[in-house]
Symmetry: D3
Subunit: 265 residues, 6 copies
C-alpha cells in the first residue's frame, strides 16, 4: 500500500497501530483531533476534527486505505458522539467517495450488542442491542458503511472490537480480549483480500471463553493466534470475580450497560 | 388515553392521523416544525423543532403516549437528517425518559432495508440494508429505541412503514402499501396491549404480493384488513409496469436506492 | 371408531368432550378418579386411579383410541403430580403397548413453555421452559410419548392446550384460548389422518393475538375456526388489563409462573 | 403477450391449459411429440421432439413466454427421461438463449422431494430427495434453470406441481392438489410480475392439509383460492384411507416412492 | 469452595470424581445409597436414599456446590427410575432451594436424544428423543432444572454426558467418549464462572468423530483436550465394527435404543 | 477391502489415487475411457466408456467399494457431459444395484454451487447454484445418489471436491484447495465408518480462508490436516491477485462462472 490513513492515531489503540502498521504502507498518514507528536520518516501528521467536512476531505485525498479508529470511544455526552461518530463518519465516507473509494476498516464495537447476555453465543447478524449512546453511534456507522457499499461499492470491514489491550484486564475480557498481534493480522487480511465486500467481523482473539461466532468472516483467512485464557491465573490473583448479579457478569457490554446518559457540562 | 402527542402532525400522514386519532385520546397534542393550522376542540398545537431539546422536553411533558411521525421523511441533505431524525430522536427519548416514559410508536421505514431484492421474503431481524441517508437515520432511531428499552424500560413499537397513502400509486406499492385504516388499527393495538416491549413491525397491509414476514409481531393482535391487490387493475390502466432491470422492480426500497447523496444548497 | 377412551372425563374439559365426542365412536369409555355420574346408552364408565397399573391396563383393553385428559391439571403438591401425571402416564403407555397401540391424543399444556415472554413467537420445537411442577410433568409426558413412538411405533398427538373454555376469561386468554369446537375438530383430525406420527401441536384457536406457530402441524389439516378477538370488547368491560409488569402480562404461562411449590398438607 | 409457447400441449394438463390460456396471448403456439388435433383461430401447432435441438430452436423463435409442460411426466425408462427431460430441457434453454430469453414457467414436480415424510413441513430450499428417475430429471431441470439465470439472466419460475387435476383423487391429493383455476392464476402472476428472477414455487392450492411452505414466493402475489378439503367427504365415500404403513401415507411422493427402476422393453 | 457435595459417589464415575475433585473444595461431602467405604481426611460420607426428602434436605445443607451424579444410570424398571431420578431430583432441588441455592452440575445424558441418527449433527436445543425410561427421566430432570432457574434463579449446568470412561470401549464411543480429565476441567469451569445461568452442555471430549455442537456453551471457556481418535487403532484390534444395520451403528443412543421396557421382578 | 474400483483412473486425480490407494485394498480395479498404462501387481485395468451400460455392469461386478472419479471434469459440450456424467452415473448406480451395492464415493464438485459469492459461508444444504453444464451434471449426480439411498439403501459419500492438486495454484485455491493427503484420509474415513448413509461433504483442506462449513460431516471423523495458507507467500510471488471485480475474486466457482456454453465442434 502506498498511503494508509489512520484516524484516531493519538488514541490508545491508535498509538499502538501507528507503530505496528509502519511496515504495511510506504506512508502512514496519521490523524487525530489531539496532538500527534513528531512525525517519523514515513509519517504524515494531520490534526483534524472529523466533524469538519472540508478537513476530512483533504485528509482522505491520496490514501489507498483507511483504518478508521477515530471518534469517541467511550460513553460521552451526545453532542460529542454526534460530532465525532455520526457527523465524522459521514464526512469520512463522503471524502472516500470523492477520492477513489479506498478500502476502509471501520472500528465498530461490541457495544453495538452489549445488552446480550454473556451466556449467549451470537453471530454478526444478531439484531443490534446497543448498551449506550456510544453503541448507538456505532450502529449508525455500521448502517452507513452498508449503504455506501450497496449504493456505491465502497468496501468496508466492519470490525466490532472487543477489548484491544496489551493483556486482558478483568474477567469479562477473558471473553472479549483481542491481542495487538491478532488485530494487526486482521488488518493485513482486510487489505490483502482480493474482494472484501462489507463484512462484519468480531474483533476478538481465539479465547477459550467465547460469545461470538466469526464463521461468516472465514473467507478472510484471519486466524487469531492468541488466547486470553493464558492470562486467567495471573488475572485472578489481582482481580476479584464479579458478582453473578452484576452487569459485569451478566451482559456482554459489561460496565457500559450501567452507564447513565452523559450530559454536557 | 388522556393526552396523545403526534409529532410531524403537519406532514401528509400526520394530517390523516390527526383526524383519525381524535377518538383515541381526550386530548391530541399536535406538533410540527411547520404550521399546524387551527386547533380543534380537543387539540393542543405546538410548533416545535425537534432539534431543540428544551422545546421537545416541554412538548412531551404530560403526554401518555407518543406517535412519532416527525422529522425528515425523504432523502435530504445530511444536515437536515441529522437535526430532524438523529438529534430530534435523541431529544424525544430524553424527554420521554424525563416524563414518565410514555409509550412511543416510532415511525421507522422500509428504507432501513431498501437494498433487499423484491423477490426476497424477510422478517424484521434481517440485517439492515438502508438505501439512503434517510434510511440510515432510521437505523439510528431503531437502535436508540432499543437502547432505551434495554436500559430504561422505555417501550417503543418500531413500525417500518411501507407506503401509507390513500391507495397504492405504483407497482411497488402493491407490495408496500398500508391503508390508513390498517395503520389506525395498528396504533390502537400498540397502545392497548398490556405489555408492548420493543417490537419491530412491518407497517404494511395484508397485500397479496408481500415481501415481509410479520410473524414476530403476532402477539399484538394486529390483523390488517386491506389488500393493495384490489387496486391492481385500476393502477395498471395508468401506471406502466417498471422495466425488470429498473431499481423500481429490483429493490424493496425502489426509487430511494437510486437517490444520490443530497448536498446542502 | 369402535371404542374411544376418555380419561379425566369428570374434569371440566372431560365433561364437555363426553358430550361432543359421542358421535365419534360407537362406545365412549369414560374414566376418572372422581365419580362420573350415570352412563348413557353408548357409555362405559370406569372409575380408575391412573397410578394403578393393573386398573389402567384393564381400562385400555379393547379401545381403538384414547383421549388422555386425565391426571392433575393445575399446580399441585409433587406427590399428586407424580401419581397422576408421571406414574399415570407411564401406566397408560404400557397399557397401550399391551393392547394394540391405539392412537393417543395426549393433553399436554402451554405450561411446558410458560416462561417464554408474551412478545415472543415460538414453534413447537422451542426448548421447554416449564412454569411449575405441573408443566414439568407435562414435559415428562411429552418425552415419554416420543420414546414410545421412536421405540415401539406408538402414535401420539401431543396437544399443548392453551386455555380451553367456553369463552376467553382474561387478557391472556385472548392469545391462549381454544374453543370447544376447534378442539373437537382437532380430535377429529388426529384420529382420521392416515399417518399421525408423533407431532406436537399448539391447542389454540385462530386468535388474532398469537404466540405460537403451528406450521409443523399443517399436515393434519386442522384449521381452527374461532378467534378470541370477538370476545375482546365484552371482556374488557369486566376484566381489568393486567399491569405491564405483572407476570400475567409478561409470561406465556401467566399466573402459573407465580405459583409457589405446593407442599403436601 | 404476443406469442406464448406451451410445450407438452397434448398431455393432460397441456390440454387444459390450451383452453384456459387462450385469452392470455394473441397467439398460442402449441407443441408436443404427439398429435395436437386441429388448430383454432389463435393457435399455431408444432409437432416436435424436444430431443431435436434444431426443431426446438425453431419452436421457440418468436415467442414471448414459454409454459414448459413437455417431456415425460411419470416414472419411465431412463432413455425416455434422458431424451424428454434432460436433453429436451437443455435444448429448450439453448433455444431461449438464442431467441431473446422469453420468460419460462418450468413445470417441475413434487417428486423432486418425494422422500420427505408427510408429517414434515418444508420450504422450497429443503435439500432435494427425489423419489424416482423422473424426480431426478426434474432436479436436473431446476439446476439448469438456475444456471441460466445466474449466468445469462434467463428468468424462470420453477413450479413444483403437486397434483393438478379436476379434483383430488385420493387422500394424498388432499395435500398435493392444485386446481386448474389456481394454476391459471399462478401462470398469470408469473408472466405479469415486473421482475421474476428464478424462484421455486410449490404448485399447490390453499389446502387445509399442507406440507409445503410457499412464503418465499409471496412476492409474486399468487393467492390460491381453492382448497382440496371441500372434496374430502365425497372422496372418502369412494376411496379407502391408505394404511398408515403404506408409502401412500408415509411419503410426500406417495406411490412414486414405490416405483421400481423402469427398464427399456 | 468450602463444601462440595457429590451424589452417586459410590458409582463408577462417582469414585473417579471423588479422587479428582479433592483439591477443588475444602470438604467433599459424598453420598450414595450404597456404601462409600472409609472417609478420608477431607471427606464427609452420607449414605442416603435420594427418594427420602428429609435425608436429602440434610444432605444438601451447608454445601456450596453440588455434583449430582446420583440416581439410576442405566435402563431399569420404572419404579427404580421414579425413585432415584424423578423423586430424587425433586428432593434435591427442593433441598437446594431451602439451603441457599448452591450451584448444581446435573449429570444428564446423551440418552435424552438417543434416537437421533449417528450421521446427524445436533446442538443442545434439538428436541429431545429419549431412548428409554432412563432417558425420559433425564428429560424430566432437565425440565426441572430449567424451572428452578426460571422461577427461583437456581443455577444448574445440565451436562449431557456421553461415555465417561478411562478409554473408549467401542466404535460408538469414538464419538461419545469424554475423558476424566476433560470432565474434571468442565466441572472446574462450571463452578468458577461468574454467571452460570442454566446451560445445557454436551459432556464429550474433542473427538474427531463428533455428533454434537457445543457452541452454545462456549462462554464457559471449557476446551476439552482429549480425543477418542487416538484409541481407534487399538480399539479396532479387539472390537468388531458394528454392522451398518445395527442400532449400535445407527442411533446416537446405541444399545439403549434396543433395550426393552424393564419390569419389576 | 478386497477390490476397490477407481473410475477415471487415467485422469489427473485418478493417477494420484491409483498410487495412494494401493494399500487400501487387495486389488485395485482401475477404469477409464483413456488408456491406463500397465497394470501393477495388485491392479486390474479395464478400459471402459461409462455410457456403455453393459460394460459398466461388468466393471462393477465383484467390487466392494467404488471411488467414482470418472466422467467429464471440466466444462464441455453437453453431449459429452450427457454421456460421461449423466448416462454414465446412471449406469454406475444400476450396476451397483445389481451387484450388492458396494459403497460409493462420488466425486461431485464445488461447481454445483459456483455462483455463491466468495464472501459467503455456506453449508452443504445451501440450494445449488451450478456455474456451468458440468456443475449441473454434478447436481444430477447428487440427486441420483440420494434417490438410490432413499429407495434402495445404496450408501454414497457425495464429496464436493474443491481443487485437488499438489499445491494451490491461485488465490481462489487458497480457499478451495484439498491436499492429496487429506483426500486420501477422507476416502479412508468413508470406507471405514460403520454407517455411511448419504452425506454431502466439502472436499477441502483445513484452509484458513474457508467458504464451506463441514459440520454436518463431523460424524465421519475426517479431520483434514493441511492448510493452503502455508503456500500463500510463495504463491503471491508468481500469481497476481485477481481484480476485485473479476469473477475469479467474486464467485466460488471462479473461472467456471465465465465459461460459455461449449458447443460440439
Amino acid at each position: 500500500m502506498k498511503r494508509l490513513l489512520i484516524t484516531g492515531a493519538a488514541g490508545g489503540l491508535g498509538q499502538v497501530m501507528r507503530e505496528r502498521l509502519a511496515p504495511y504502507a510506504e506512508i502512514l498518514r496519521l490523524s487525530d483531533i489531539a496532538a500527534l507528536g513528531e512525525a517519523k520518516a514515513n509519517e504524515e501528521l494531520v490534526q483534524c476534527d472529523l466533524a469538519d467536512a472540508a478537513a476530512v476531505d483533504k485528509l482522505v485525498e491520496g490514501c489507498d486505505g483507511i483504518l478508521h479508529l477515530g471518534g469517541v470511544s467511550v460513553e460521552a455526552p451526545f453532542s460529542k458522539i454526534l460530532n465525532g461518530n455520526i457527523l465524522g463518519m459521514y464526512n469520512l465516507y463522503e471524502a472516500a467517495r470523492a477520492h477513489g473509494q479506498p478500502r476502509i476498516l471501520f472500528a465498530s464495537s461490541n457495544h453495538t450488542i452489549g445488552f446480550y447476555k454473556q451466556d449467549e453465543y451470537i453471530d454478526v447478524d444478531a439484531p443490534v442491542r446497543p448498551d449506550g449512546l456510544y453503541g448507538v453511534s456505532k450502529c449508525f456507522g455500521e448502517a452507513l458503511a452498508k449503504l455506501y457499499f450497496d449504493k456505491f461499492g465502497q468496501e468496508t470491514a466492519i470490525v466490532r472490537i472487543g477489548s484491544c489491550f496489551e493483556t486482558p484486564r478483568n474477567h469479562r475480557m477473558l471473553s472479549t480480549w483481542m491481542s495487538y498481534d491478532d488485530f494487526t493480522a486482521l488488518i493485513d487480511c482486510v487489505f490483502r483480500t482480493p474482494m472484501l465486500g462489507c463484512p462484519t467481523i468480531w474483533g476478538v482473539s481465539e479465547n477459550d471463553s467465547s460469545w461470538w461466532d466469526n464463521s461468516k468472516a472465514r473467507f478472510l483467512g484471519w486466524k487469531p493466534k492468541d488466547n486470553a485464557e493464558k492470562y486467567r491465573v495471573e488475572l485472578e490473583k489481582t482481580v476479584a470475580r464479579p458478582d453473578p448479579s452484576s452487569p459485569l457478569a451478566i451482559f456482554m457490554g459489561g460496565p457500559f450497560t450501567q452507564d447513565p446518559i452523559h450530559k454536557d457540562d
